[in-house]
């Protein structure tokens, strides 16, 4: 289990522009749980791994909070952090301004270079490659750099025969990079094909939200697919489906519970159990090709 005495990473403020605002919490302020409406003290919530102590609602976490929560202390070695998004299309929307400016503002707001952090680390002393998406960075969307970093992570896992863990949190492909973004689905999936051929295990963890092109590519290709409870998981957002079908959807549509029932994932894991569960899975795959005698 996580060492509770370990201090949480400093929390950075979030840019409120996106409709699905990220729940990064001001440490000392009270926060209302969006599920049970309980008023929670930010610090207490941090200590409880950002899970509402009353109803179990899982608040979103940023990439470094994830790494901090899951990996052995000080075991994380980031790589490919020098990759920055370019602007292959010279994309400008008169609603949102130039893409280049949006990137710059997200970098400042999040302290991240992109929506994906990748590196090597250890869980319960077992080394692995870890890829974490951060929803704060343009909705965790996948453009060239996200795709490249994920692919580099997969290729490193293949080459070094290290298990791979990818933690998804994304609205899908990044429109501002057009077809370059879509093609990252193929690029990452092709890299996973080679990982699979090499017999290296891949654990995919789906967190709130995992949708669109991310859900329809690497995140569904795990040998084991886990999800946090109550996460929005689906190809299309429920609201878009409702608009297209002109009807209300059942309440649990496109949640972790829905995709579990539909046979799409292996199990739902409460955040407090994530680290030991991933540890168990790593151990089980690690002993896969052993012999009895």
């Amino acid at each position: 289990m996580r060492d509770e005495s370990k201090p949480a990473l400093p929390v950075v403020g979030h840019n409120g522009a996106h409709p699905d605002a990220v729940h990064t919490l001001p440490t000392n302020l009270a926060v209302k749980c969006p599920n049970c409406r309980e008023l929670l003290v930010g610090k207490d919530l941090e200590r409880n791994q950002k899970v509402c102590p009353r109803c179990g609602y899982h608040f979103r976490m940023d990439a470094h909070e994830r790494i901090d929560m899951l990996l052995d202390r000080d075991s994380f070695e980031e790589f490919a952090n020098d990759l920055l998004s370019a602007d292959p299309l010279g994309f400008v929307s008169d609603a949102k301004g130039p893409y280049i400016a949006e990137l710059e503002s997200k970098r400042r707001a999040t302290g991240l270079n992109e929506s994906v952090v990748v590196g090597k680390g250890e869980i319960e002393r077992m080394p692995l490659i870890i890829v974490v998406m951060d929803f704060r960075f343009i909705g965790g969307s996948m453009g060239s750099v996200a795709g490249e970093k994920i692919t580099l992570g997969i290729e490193r896992a293949t080459k070094d025969r290290l298990p791979l863990l990818i933690i998804s949190a994304s609205g899908g492909a990044r429109m501002q990079e057009g077809l370059f973004a879509l093609m990252q689905m193929a690029k990452t999936s092709a890299a996973l094909r080679r990982l699979a051929d090499a017999g290296v295990p891949f654990i995919s963890l789906l967190t709130d939200p995992t949708t669109g092109g991310v859900f329809a590519s690497f995140s569904m290709l795990g040998d084991v697919i886990l999800a946090e409870p109550g996460a929005v998981i689906g190809f299309t957002g429920p609201r878009v489906i409702e608009q297209a079908m002109h009807q209300k959807l059942p309440k649990d549509t496109n949640t972790s519970e829905f995709v579990l029932q539909r046979g799409m994932i292996d199990t739902i894991v409460h955040r407090r159990d994530l680290r030991p569960t991933i540890g168990r899975i790593l151990r089980l795959y690690g002993a896969a090709s052993k012999r009895f005698v």
Binding site: P88, M185, F215, R262, M264
Partner: protein
């Protein structure tokens, strides 16, 4: 075919005059005959000129034209025999994707394509070409069979986007698309994909993880339909024309960005003006590209396919300096 798009008005006018003369048939005077020939040349030239300079939004209109040849039309015109294979062997037969064994110049290939449907009933039955999970799984089955029998795979892309309904979610459309990408990435036989109309989002990508991606002249391939992109980026789908321009979705722009291998020229005025000519161009492209790919050993083929997608992406390195993008 009539010229019915707004930017085609000059062509429609010319065409009207040609039709009027033609109706008179044998009764034309010699000078009228000369006039007719002149008008025909003029129409052809004018059509080429207009089509050479279409805006992205106009290109979208042509790509979606209701008379445009669909997969079934190309199958008819390109193959000497076609035996359609049905069903995913799991749940249903999805009519939004069709595929089967096609004989082209004495050789059998696996030909798979999105099919939108021509009349209202057909369109509904085919869900306007928007496949469900079972459609992608049928395509996977056919591709695996192609691998087993060493048939090359040719896919025709014509889908506005993946299906957006509850049933699609229930049966795992995302899983099906992901698995398609996975299957195609490792398929041990040549794959050529041709965008014949709209290539929209994951629905299009799911059948185009190919060794070569070709596009007909008046087609688009995009991460999301212009309408969907506009409603995300402009919060209003009526800005679709802006999204269409900003996202660089036309064959011409994508060739410049090196995201596709080749543009297949269309007859003057678009593929819907001359099905036979369009199909002939598609057929010769298929034969040429498959022939080239068949020269490669399987491991080479797979390595090239991997590198083709591996190389896609434009980014820069912080340390090197922010102004030198790497492709």
């Amino acid at each position: 075919m009539p010229y019915d798009l707004e930017f085609e008005r000059p062509l429609a006018d010319l065409d009207k005059r040609i039709q009027a003369l033609q109706r008179r048939g044998d009764r034309l005077r010699p000078d009228e005959r000369t006039q007719l020939d002149g008008l025909r040349i003029q129409l052809d030239q004018r059509a080429r000129e207009i089509y050479r300079n279409l805006t992205p939004t106009q290109r979208v209109q042509v790509a979606r034209h209701k008379n445009r040849p669909y997969t079934a039309d190309y199958i008819n015109l390109v193959s000497d025999d076609f035996f359609e294979l049905h069903g995913d062997r799991r749940y249903a037969d999805d009519h939004a994707i069709m595929g089967g064994l096609a004989s082209i110049d004495g050789k059998t290939i696996m030909l798979i394509g999105n099919q939108k449907g021509r009349d209202t009933k057909d369109r509904l039955e085919r869900n306007f070409g928007m496949a469900h999970a079972e459609g992608y799984r049928k395509a996977q089955r056919l591709m695996r069979q192609a691998e087993q029998f060493q048939m090359p795979v040719v896919t025709l892309i014509d889908i506005s986007g993946a299906s957006l309904d509850l049933e699609a979610e229930q049966r795992g459309i995302a899983q099906a698309i992901a698995e398609s990408l996975f299957v195609m990435a490792g398929l041990r036989t040549p794959i050529v994909s041709i965008v014949i109309g709209e290539g929209g989002s994951g629905g299009a990508l799911s059948t185009s993880v190919a060794d070569r991606i070709l596009m007909l002249e008046n087609t688009i391939y995009t991460v999301a339909s212009p309408e969907a992109a506009a409603s995300i980026l402009w919060r209003d789908s009526s800005h679709a024309h802006k999204a269409a321009a900003a996202m660089k979705i036309t064959a011409q722009e994508l060739l410049k960005l090196k995201l596709i291998e080749e543009i297949i020229p269309e007859p003057a005025g678009g593929a819907h003006q001359d099905y036979a000519a369009a199909a002939a161009a598609v057929k010769s492209a298929i034969i040429r590209h498959i022939s080239e790919l068949e020269q490669l050993a399987t491991e080479q083929l797979l390595e090239q396919r991997y590198q083709r997608f591996r190389a896609i992406g434009v980014y820069k390195r912080e340390t090197v300096g922010a102004s030198s993008p790497t492709t």
